[in-house]
Amino acid sequence: MKTRTIRLILWAPLVLFLVFVGLFASGLIRPSSSTIRSKLIGQPLPEFALPAGVPGKPALARSDFTAGKPRLLNVFASWCVPCIAEAPQLVQLRDAGVEIDAIAIRDRSEDIAGFLARNGDPYARIGSDKDSSVQLALGSSGVPETFVIDGKGIIRHQHIGDIRPEDVPALLSAVQSAQ
């Protein structure tokens, strides 16, 4: 080989090293996104029937989502702190005419009742999912999450994390386009 080519080859390890440093640095500065989206968007809501979360409020089943009107399905828990933060936005959505049902994850009815008394109650129905099995069937990986379900029971949209005031218009339009 010519000395010139050899000299160029000698630079290769350093270049490779710098590439790795760059990779590590970008991983440290901007870690890969940790939100796992449900793959069920555009697909029918899975079959489920949950017992009532609080006495005096209806239980929740899949058949409640096929009445022809889009609804929000809010996955929450009384022990979940961001759920407190999104409560005013859910009330705002309810006041705007959106019908909201909820699944309470790993919760007790007295705790749910306390949560609703403290943070407002925007829900038409609450199902109690004590072993997260419906949450897993939905492809949801945490609380809070909110799904937009159209009138035929098809999942149209998933909002991961608490609903901030600035998220309300997008959710309203997602509900409207699910008509």
Binding site: I36, D131, S132
Partner: protein, 139 residues
């Protein structure tokens, strides 16, 4: 100074605050199935499924509540006679290939599978060059 040290130690050993529910773990989250064969099947699948909230761990290793609920789901379905592959497919349909530690061979993942072979080939090629030079070389 001493107080600062105590605070530093307290911070170093503090566990991250997980928001946890007040409910006990699901029935089958930490209890083996009575049938040892079924339990072995369930265990093998659990070490192959990624925990959704503690993303570097399998659900077999994780103490997160959702991981416990996923273990219970796996055991429940295995006990009902479902095959591990069917349970894995059920989860992949909801969370994507991400949830499994056994990525399928797809156009996107083929570099992952080909890389070890390519690297081994490159290593063999380099080694061959070196050995040959030594045999032929004057020193």
């Amino acid at each position: 100074m001493r107080r600062a040290f105590v605070v530093a130690v307290a911070l170093a050993v503090a566990a991250p605050a997980f928001a946890d529910s007040l409910l006990p773990a699901a029935e089958l989250a930490n209890t083996a199935l009575p049938d040892a064969k079924q339990e072995a099947k369930a265990k093998a699948l659990m070490t192959n499924l990624r925990c959704l909230v503690c993303q570097g761990q399998s659900i077999a290793d994780s103490d997160a509540e959702l991981a416990g609920d996923m273990r219970a789901l796996v055991r429940r379905r295995i006990a009902a006679g479902e095959e591990p592959q069917a349970i894995r497919d059920w989860l992949i349909a909801r969370y994507g290939n991400w949830v499994s530690y056994d990525p399928p061979l797809e156009p996107v993942t083929w570099p992952l599978w080909a890389a070890p072979l390519l690297l081994l080939g490159a290593g063999a090629w380099i080694a061959r060059g070196r050995f040959r030079r030594r045999r032929v070389g004057p020193n």
